[in-house]
């Protein structure tokens, strides 16, 4: 019962959805201000979501209906799970199990996989092209991201979210060491690719692929996909905060400090998104398997040497 509450209401679905909408509004508003526009009103993400829920569902002819409609739900369930696990690890660091970090890393991949499956099931050429790009992007960013996470594991000598939290409480945040700084840079770049935001929004590519992987979705399934994206924008930086910046604390002024950590990370994401053009998929792969991978390996070596 308690776990159900945690999954559906407090750190889980409802909380993440509401904060995700707020965060996506901040993203759009900051983007608008950077471009010297006024930007959308506060409740815009909610209006978008409600409107999409009221629209007609169109399943394209020849598409695999069940897969096409269920894939977005799997993505939503996965991102909810990641969010609840991270927040539970901050609320009750002593619970959880050994290896929950690995579970989080795996489950974090599922929204992308769900998008790929849904796009392939839609029997649309443009969607398939977008899905194949998304797959390549996943292959590209997963390896450096795992190296970055490995730095955290080597430093704290644990694959347990709670123990990582305790380690950073006693020895300071991972970001304060040299290997931690390098790992954090790698992780932020990978996060941009995982969120498919602008330098790496290759699978969606509004101008050439007309929404790419989402091209055939309409109505409620599209609403679920958009909501998943909004929740990812809240959850993934939260994972980074937990792994590299010491996690969220709830005593007194520490709450403000925790929120500040998240907001700084969000602003970094939004600024990267607003100051870069989209790269091609081969450039993205070369970038992640070249310079970023080298930085990641350097970070792991530094961590093994104890820096």
């Amino acid at each position: 019962m308690e776990y159900l509450f945690a999954y559906v209401i407090f750190p889980g679905f409802l909380f993440t959805a509401v904060v995700g909408m707020l965060v996506s509004w901040i993203d759009r508003k900051v983007t608008a201000r950077v471009q010297w526009r006024v930007g959308p009103p506060l409740f815009q993400p909610l209006y978008d979501f409600v409107k999409l829920l009221g629209k007609e569902i169109i399943v394209p002819r020849g598409a695999s209906k069940a897969t096409f409609l269920l894939a977005p739900l799997f993505g939503l369930a996965a991102v909810t799970l990641v969010s609840s696990m991270i927040w539970m690890a901050s609320l009750y660091p002593d619970r959880g199990f050994v290896g929950d970090l690995i579970v989080v890393i795996y489950v974090m991949m599922i929204p992308s996989i769900a998008v790929i499956i849904g796009a392939f099931a839609s029997k649309n050429r443009i969607a398939s092209l977008g899905a194949s790009r998304e797959m390549k992007l996943m292959l590209a960013d997963e390896l450096p991201f795992l190296l970055a996470v490995m730095v955290v594991i080597i430093k704290s000598e644990a694959v347990h979210l709670g123990q990582i939290y305790h380690y950073q409480e006693t020895y300071g945040m991972i970001f304060s060491s040299w290997s931690g700084v390098l790992a954090m840079i790698v992780a932020v770049l990978c996060m941009q690719a995982k969120l498919t935001l602008v330098p790496f929004d290759i699978p969606e590519a509004e101008t050439e692929l007309m929404g790419g992987v989402f091209v055939e979705y309409s109505g409620p399934p599209l609403a679920v996909l958009k909501l998943t994206r909004m929740m990812m924008l809240f959850t993934l930086p939260m994972v980074m905060v937990h792994l590299f910046l010491g996690g969220v604390h709830f005593q007194g002024m520490d709450i403000l400090w925790s929120i500040l950590k998240y907001v700084v990370l969000l602003v970094v994401i939004v600024l990267i998104r607003n100051t870069n053009p989209r790269v091609r998929i081969d450039q993205a792969m070369r970038f992640f398997w070249g310079p970023v991978l080298i930085i990641g390996i350097a970070a792991v070596i530094l961590a093994l040497l104890g820096f």
């Binding site: 815009q44 169109i58 599209l222």
Partner: protein
């Protein structure tokens, strides 16, 4: 129906369909998204796929080749949705009156909800038209 239309007036996503325009109206439409006019403050976003759209924005004369395609794109748009005709050509035939490649006007092919005249209409005119359309939908809801 009420809440559906109400939410639609708060975030109309627009798919831009040119059925044979000279690109002048299209440039004026893009002007609406620039910092000076900024349609995103009304929740209006240009989308790439008709499946995401709530409003079909038609510019230009309806040519014979486009008639079938325009109907198809309209059918691809999930309902409820609206059709906006922009520019003198889309309202009637404009300077192409009597041309043999344009047997029908836009509103004979698609159910147009609002007409925005002008050759091309100013961005202020387009925004005024869209605002009137949203007002109409609000009263219907």
């Amino acid at each position: 129906m009420g809440i559906k239309l109400k939410a639609l007036t708060k975030s109309p996503w627009v798919y831009h369909l040119s059925t044979g325009s000279c690109n002048n109206c299209d440039i004026e439409i893009l002007d609406c998204l620039t910092p000076r006019y900024d349609l995103e403050r009304l929740g209006i976003v240009l989308v790439g796929s008709p499946r995401h759209a709530d409003a079909l924005l038609v510019t230009g004369n309806m040519t014979m080749k486009c008639m079938k395609r325009a109907k198809e794109v309209y059918d691809q748009m999930p309902k409820p949705g609206v059709v906006i005709a922009v520019g003198t050509c889309a309202l009637g035939h404009g300077v192409f009156e009597g041309s043999y490649v344009m047997p029908k006007t836009v509103d004979e092919v698609l159910p147009v909800d609002i007409y925005i005249p002008g050759c091309p209409p100013k961005p202020e005119g387009i925004i005024a038209g869209v605002a009137k359309l949203l007002e109409m939908l609000k009263q219907k809801a």
